[in-house]
Amino acid sequence: MTEVMNDHWQEWKELFDFRHARVMKSNNVMDSFDIAFIEGAMAGPEQVEKLKDIRSRSKKLVAVGSCAIVGMPAGQRNAFTQEQKDSIDYLVTRFGALPEVKKVSDVVKVDAEIPGCPMDPKVFLEKVNGLVAELRG
């Protein structure tokens, strides 16, 4: 997304109020969102709870990239052989991870998807512009 920003930062600076994006800012506010973008799969129980919480605060929720949409490759351990599973089992247990990694739609309703690894910037812009238009009614 930061690469899409190279061409669109001026427009976005005006258009968006980035409420919560740890990668960009420190003073993040978790109140209510017009659009929430979710990257990555859910590997731990607190990630599932957080995702549900974000859904409850958001008008629209967008899953971005393969890990969020199909759960892979972040969830590749779901498809491991028994031997591979046995070799990592103690680590999954140690860090309190979920027995199986979940994709976003396993946990909450998804309003739009931007597939790919990496996601396609053109599709991203199309979907975002569509949602902005819809929200503005």
Binding site: E3, N6, V23, I88, L91, T93
Partner: protein, 454 residues
């Protein structure tokens, strides 16, 4: 006894998720835990059973931002296993791939993550468009990032998870028109990089603690691929020795592996590279950054950011040279028959030395693998620096202010947790785990000694 605990959860403006836990007793830091709290994705376990051809694209997914470094290291490891020697054109295209990555990735870190601290802003996008200096920096940041991005697209297909570089060569080649456009863009971005170097040459943050530095130094020019592993004390290690000179340290509270060298912490990354190999920089870079280069070698960790800015300039200067003086022609990929063996690929990623290892059977199926990332290597050094910083500040400012200073210090390293969390080689000893776990997850640690490479 007066005991103070400083806790930072979810450090901001870094790549990925990390936390920091510091204990101070009677005005002296007694414990520092830098924990990488991303969940592991078991990329090295998942290598097993895959064909060698799938490995570069697979390991690339370890991380978005430095994916092309993982592609380069994985290709190097696979070629080493098969005994493939690539053409001189391929070597040039790989240099350009790294320059595209380094300029884009360093610019992202310096402008979007670090610069807000220097201008008392919460985010780069909050810079004031009506203030001439901040307006300029906003434009500079996105201009340099775009130039690096376009170089990557031209040479490697895209700047994230590159598609053109493969084991044995490249699938597509830059056109003369495309090269001319990128040269123009690089030339236009050069003054912005000079302004960036000045910003970080004059930046007020400093923390000077003596430590060791290590980097791969190519034989020819300052760069990222090929050559030997060299320390600032002049010790030299061959790539084939892989990580035999590094000591693995288990931090039970972190999802990443940490390393020491000769029993002590060390630092990898731009500061290490400039400290060790600044004499090999492009002549134009040396000339234009002469004032800044006088500050090196340096043991001030905040000079890592200045070193990054200088590296962007070198990437621009060398890319302009390579693209202007070469015509790239389609050439076949170098192939070799499958054979059983072990391959090592050690390169300099933007954040420091990156080690990939593949073990193949005679059909080219991966039996085992290992990945060691820069952030894992820097983990102990980050903890030492934080302890040193807190000792200096604990009497001088309130906890909240110290927390902010700790965050700035961690940011100076440009750590990458996505990379850090996912190839833990566990060597966990119950006897050493007496300390209170730093996180809830670590609290679930079971006793016992085990060593499993995932």
């Amino acid at each position: 006894m007066h005991k103070v605990n400083l806790k930072l959860e979810h450090i901001t403006k870094i790549e990925g998720d990390a936390s920091m836990d510091v204990t101070v007793e009677d005005g002296k830091t007694t414990d520092v835990k830098f924990a990488i709290i991303e969940y592991k994705r078991f990329f090295t376990t998942a290598m097993k059973g895959k064909s060698i051809a799938a490995i570069p694209a697979h390991l690339s997914r370890i991380c978005g931002t430095c994916s092309n470094a993982h592609v380069m290291a994985a290709i190097a490891a696979c070629e080493n296993a098969l005994g493939i020697e690539v053409t001189s054109q391929t070597k040039l295209l790989r240099k350009l791939t790294m320059h595209g990555l380094v300029s884009r990735d360093h610019a992202l870190h310096l402008y979007l993550f670090v610069m807000p601290d220097l201008y008392n802003k919460d985010a780069f996008l909050e810079f004031d468009d009506n203030d001439p200096e901040q307006h300029q920096l906003l434009h500079d940041g996105f201009q340099i990032k775009a130039a690096g991005n376009h170089l990557s697209q031209l040479v490697a297909g895209r700047s994230v998870h590159a598609t053109f570089p493969v084991i044995g060569g490249f699938l597509q080649f830059p056109s003369a028109e495309g090269a001319a456009e990128v040269v123009k863009e690089m030339q236009a971005a050069r003054p912005a990089v000079l302004r960036l170097i000045e910003v970080f040459r004059k930046a007020p943050q400093h923390l000077d603690r003596k430590t060791k530095y290590m980097a791969i130094v190519p034989d020819d020019t300052f760069g990222y691929i090929g050559g030997k592993i060299i320390t600032d004390h002049g010790e030299v290690y061959e790539q084939k020795d892989f990580r035999s000179h590094l000591e693995h340290v288990a931090l039970p509270y972190s999802q990443a592996s940490a390393y020491k060298y000769k029993g002590e912490s060390y630092m990898v990354g731009a500061l290490a590279r400039i400290n060790i190999a600044k004499d090999k920089l492009h002549p134009k870079t040396k000339e234009s950054a002469a004032e800044a280069l006088k500050l090196f070698p340096s043991t001030d960790i905040f000079h890592n950011n200045l070193a990054q800015a200088i590296e962007i300039l070198h990437s621009i200067d060398e890319s302009i040279d390579i693209l202007s003086n070469n015509v790239f022609k389609p050439e076949p990929i170098v192939k070799a028959p499958m054979r059983a063996g072990v391959g090592m690929g050690v390169i300099e990623a933007p954040r420091g030395t990156l080690y990939h290892k593949v073990v193949l059977d005679d059909k080219g199926i991966v039996q085992d693998g290992e990945v060691i990332v820069p952030t894992g290597q820097n983990q102990v050094n980050i903890e030492r620096d934080v302890g040193f910083l807190v000792d200096n500040l604990i009497e001088k400012m309130p906890k909240e202010e110290i927390n902010k200073e700790i965050e700035k210090l961690i940011r100076a390293y440009d750590p990458c947790m996505s990379c850090g969390a996912h190839f833990l080689k566990v060597n966990w000893n119950a006897k050493k785990s007496g300390a209170k776990p730093a996180s809830k997850a670590a609290g679930k640690v079971a006793g016992g000694t085990c060593e499993v490479c995932n």
